[in-house]
Symmetry: C2
Subunit: 153 residues, 2 copies
């Protein structure tokens, strides 16, 4: 995982945005939910549910449902995404700003970049339309190697 300038800023921003979104939506951003989101954001990789559970330690007498419920809430409110190909979760880097987004997953450093570029979404929509298929949700996960890792190899 490559360093960002000051990762605390990422975390703080994510939490602040989450606060705001939950307030707007009239949903409760409880301590557990906040803490899980914070843990998900500990770095720019993806986090496994049971790792989060372990990192929660004794806090909140956490057990699997504790974590899965928090993750479910965070997903419903667009604050985290599940990476199906990894069974893992990442913080959403620009909540509310997109419908279809996708992920560049570096298998060397584990960093996950979230992208929402139009052309890809458009190509998908057009292809689906051609087959008269009505898309509801798109999962697009691209595994490979990020720029820095290619250099460092």
């Amino acid at each position: 995982m490559h360093l960002c300038h000051e990762h605390e800023v990422c975390v703080e921003t994510a939490l602040a945005t989450a606060d705001q979104i939950c307030e707007e939506r009239g949903v409760r951003f409880t301590d557990i939910r906040r803490r899980v989101l914070e843990l998900v954001w500990e770095n720019h990789g993806s986090a496994k549910a049971y790792d989060l559970l372990e990192r929660l330690g004794g806090e909140y007498s956490a057990k699997p449902p504790t974590v899965y419920r928090a993750l479910e809430f965070l997903q419903e409110n667009g604050l985290v995404h599940k990476i199906n190909s990894l069974n893992a979760y990442v913080g959403c880097s620009h909540p509310l700003q997109h419908k279809d987004c996708f992920f560049l997953i570096c298998s060397r450093c584990n960093e996950v970049q979230e992208c929402c570029t139009e052309p890809v979404a458009n190509a998908v929509w057009q292809m689906a339309a051609k087959r008269h298929f009505k898309p509801r949700h798109t999962t697009l996960e691209i595994e490979g190697q990020c720029q820095q890792c290619q250099v460092q190899n």
Copy 2:
């Protein structure tokens, strides 16, 4: 799941193609592998590993590794794909003819269509290139409703 004209033809074709591919590649298309592929092809939906296991019944004294090994072999040789968002497997409808393919998954009838249109793959590659990301494998799964199901609703 919508009927195809004569589904036995699909199955026979898939098995015959698999025979041929395995022969060309010098890999062994054993009874178990063939039987698992046949079960995967029982319809045009996706099949869960433990369902396959159950459908194998007593045959081959099947246990989880039996099925997972067969599925691994079939995936390696491009004969089935895993649908990550469902933890399930589908037969590949045109083995060897593609690198990047993707799936239209109807959540009403469970049918999975496999697609390999250029424009989507291109859009993905361009987007990745822009970020200097080197893709190795792409997972694209589109959940929604197929044409027939939209009509029938």
